[in-house]
């Protein structure tokens, strides 16, 4: 192994194109996307709806195979879903038939790694996400924001290499969303994970990302990549600074030109 710590292509999409077949027609959804993500880095992807953001995430998760090109993680080709890539879905994916605690335990149990350490991780994330009081509750008793916390905690408990988030806060009100963003920020400092965060919210992308990838409308291409240099942990108040708003305006116009 050669200095993987500084490798910028820990997670890489190389010349990835995706065609969907609708009826007799093949529609190009993603057009030669190239993206290299370093270990521990958070990349946020923004773009107009239908630009293939979610397709990128499904490819990396292993749910879809690219028509052309290749996806690799730590030099290994990605060809199926696995526990090294956790996914936080836009939809509610918390298992309703398991209690909150059992949801968190699900990953370690499936990997046959449910040991004392895993138990500690479960307790740790229950506490960190403010879920201790609900450990034995079924998801139906929780609000949408709480369920998202369970989903995020479930992903982190399983200690994956990569965390993939698909507009996780898309259906959540602004106030709860701010809370959840701050919690993700805290997690990214405490336990940095290589992440891809799909969103249509520009401010969310800047706040959480080390880099923001701006996509074009379909067929999705990488239009621009903006580095966000601000050190972590970032305060929510940072969103009101000129620097932040300048970035937001820049991305907005980049999206708007299309």
């Amino acid at each position: 192994m050669t200095s993987t710590a500084v490798a910028t292509d820990y997670l890489a999409l190389r010349d990835v194109s995706v065609y969907y077949s609708i009826g007799k027609e093949n529609i190009l959804a993603l057009d030669t996307v190239n993206l290299e993500i370093a270990k521990g880095e958070t990349v946020c992807v923004v773009g107009p709806s239908g630009c293939g953001k979610t397709t990128i995430l499904n490819l990396v998760a292993g749910f879809l195979f690219p028509s052309l090109g290749e996806i690799s993680l730590a030099g290994e080709r990605v060809d199926s879903p696995d526990a090294d890539r956790a996914v936080v879905f836009q939809q509610d994916a918390v298992f309703p038939w398991l209690t909150v605690r059992k949801n968190l335990e699900y990953g370690p149990k499936r990997r046959r790694a449910f040991d004392a350490d895993a138990r500690r991780r479960v307790d740790h994330y229950l506490e960190l996400m403010g879920l201790e009081g609900f450990a034995d509750a079924y998801p139906k008793m929780l609000s949408g924001g709480m369920r998202k916390r369970v989903d995020v905690a479930r992903a982190y408990v399983n200690d994956p290499e990569v965390i993939l988030l698909d507009e996780p806060f898309g259906a959540i009100d602004d106030m709860t969303k701010n809370h959840l963003q701050r919690e993700l920020m805290r997690l990214s400092v405490e336990e940095p994970k290589t992440s891809i965060f799909i969103t249509h919210d520009i401010e969310e992308a800047i706040y959480l990302g080390d880099r923001v990838v701006v996509m074009t409308p379909r067929p999705g291409k990488v239009k621009e990549v903006i580095a966000v240099e601000e050190a972590r942990p970032r305060d929510l108040a940072w969103k009101t600074t000129n620097e932040f708003q300048e970035m937001r305006r820049h991305i907005q116009s980049s999206l708007g030109e299309m």
């Binding site: 998760a61 292993g62 749910f63 199926s80 879903p81 696995d82 526990a83 890539r85 956790a86 996914v87 879905f89 939809q91 509610d92 994916a93 298992f95 309703p96 038939w97 398991l98 699900y106 990953g107 499936r110 990997r111 079924y138 998801p139 139906k140 479930r154 399983n158």
Partner: protein, 296 residues
């Protein structure tokens, strides 16, 4: 404590929480009885309303008596009086119990066999495409045939013995459960399957820990439908083939114009079916506490 009193009354769990959240002493926690938060448009619950049900039942029984014993408006051959019905119960107690047991036994056995095999087969069809394509045309061909329409064939093949009746009851449960199980397994929200795979579950684990868990509410619903179906099919089969059981007693009584026995037999079947339904409901609510809208 005032809140204690109001909690015993018509208060929703939500309201109980609201008052309980106030905690210790202090003027703000002294809620006058009946003034905890109420939910708009909630279905009204009152301890007096169930009395109405008792009342309506009493009225029906009174009318029954009035039209038979009281005024003799209904011919005894069409509908027996309460006293005649009661005589049947006291005179035929032993016979009725034996018949009720014979029928219940048939229902329980064929229901258990049919549902078990149906669920197992439905799961196999959901798991293996080959099995699905092999079995589906046959199932779809047999399924629309009402089970009772198969009785002539059952008699030709199995005579008037127990095997035929159990087979018929099992068959109707089997057909129902195969389809319910298969459809439920097929329709499990794909996001759960993906989530499980990304958390490290292999294909077998996904089946065991996601699909088998997610379909429980549909299975429980199906098993309940099957119980009702089995009563219908078994009683009908008893009309035609049995030498004992409630169905046999009913048809014999009808042929001999013994209306009181017909009435009592019908009530017994209804009561047994009601009892089984209650037991299933009790068990199923425990299996599905996690389902939205289901109060554990």
């Amino acid at each position: 404590m005032a809140t204690e009193e109001s909690r015993n009354g018509t208060v929703e769990p939500l309201a109980a929480e609201v008052t309980a959240a106030g905690g210790g002493a202090g003027p703000s926690t002294a809620v006058p009885p009946g003034r905890t938060v109420r939910v708009a448009n909630e279905r009204k619950k009152s301890r007096y309303l169930p009395l109405l049900s008792v009342l309506s039942l009493a009225v029906v029984i009174f009318l029954w008596w009035l039209l038979t014993n009281g005024t003799h408006s209904i011919a005894p051959l069409k509908f027996p009086s309460p006293s005649e019905a009661w005589n049947v119960v006291t005179e035929l107690k032993g016979n009725l119990l034996k018949a009720a047991w014979a029928t219940t036994w048939r229902v329980l056995v064929s229901w258990a066999i049919g549902c078990t095999l149906g669920v197992a087969f439905g799961l196999i069809l959901g798991r293996f495409k080959v099995a699905y394509y092999l079995a589906n045309p046959i199932i779809e061909a047999i399924r629309p045939v009402p089970p009772i329409a198969l009785i002539p064939f059952i008699i030709l093949w199995f005579g008037l013995g127990e095997t035929g009746r159990i087979l018929l009851g099992s068959l109707c449960c089997f057909m129902t459960m195969v389809v319910i199980t298969y459809v439920a397994a097929y329709n499990v929200n794909p996001v759960y399957l993906r989530a499980a795979r990304s958390l490290g579950a292999g294909e077998n684990a996904v089946y065991r820990t996601v699909i088998l868990r997610a379909i429980v509410p549909q299975l429980v619903g199906g098993i309940r439908i099957c119980a009702a179906l089995t009563w219908a099919v078994i009683v009908a089969a008893e009309y035609l083939t049995a030498q004992n059981g409630i169905g046999y007693i009913l048809i014999q009584a009808s042929r001999t114009l013994n209306t009181p026995v017909v009435l009592v037999g019908t009530i017994i079947v209804g009561f047994l079916a009601f009892l089984l339904e209650r037991i299933i409901r009790l068990v199923s609510s425990r299996l599905t506490v996690w389902v939205e809208g289901n109060e554990g």
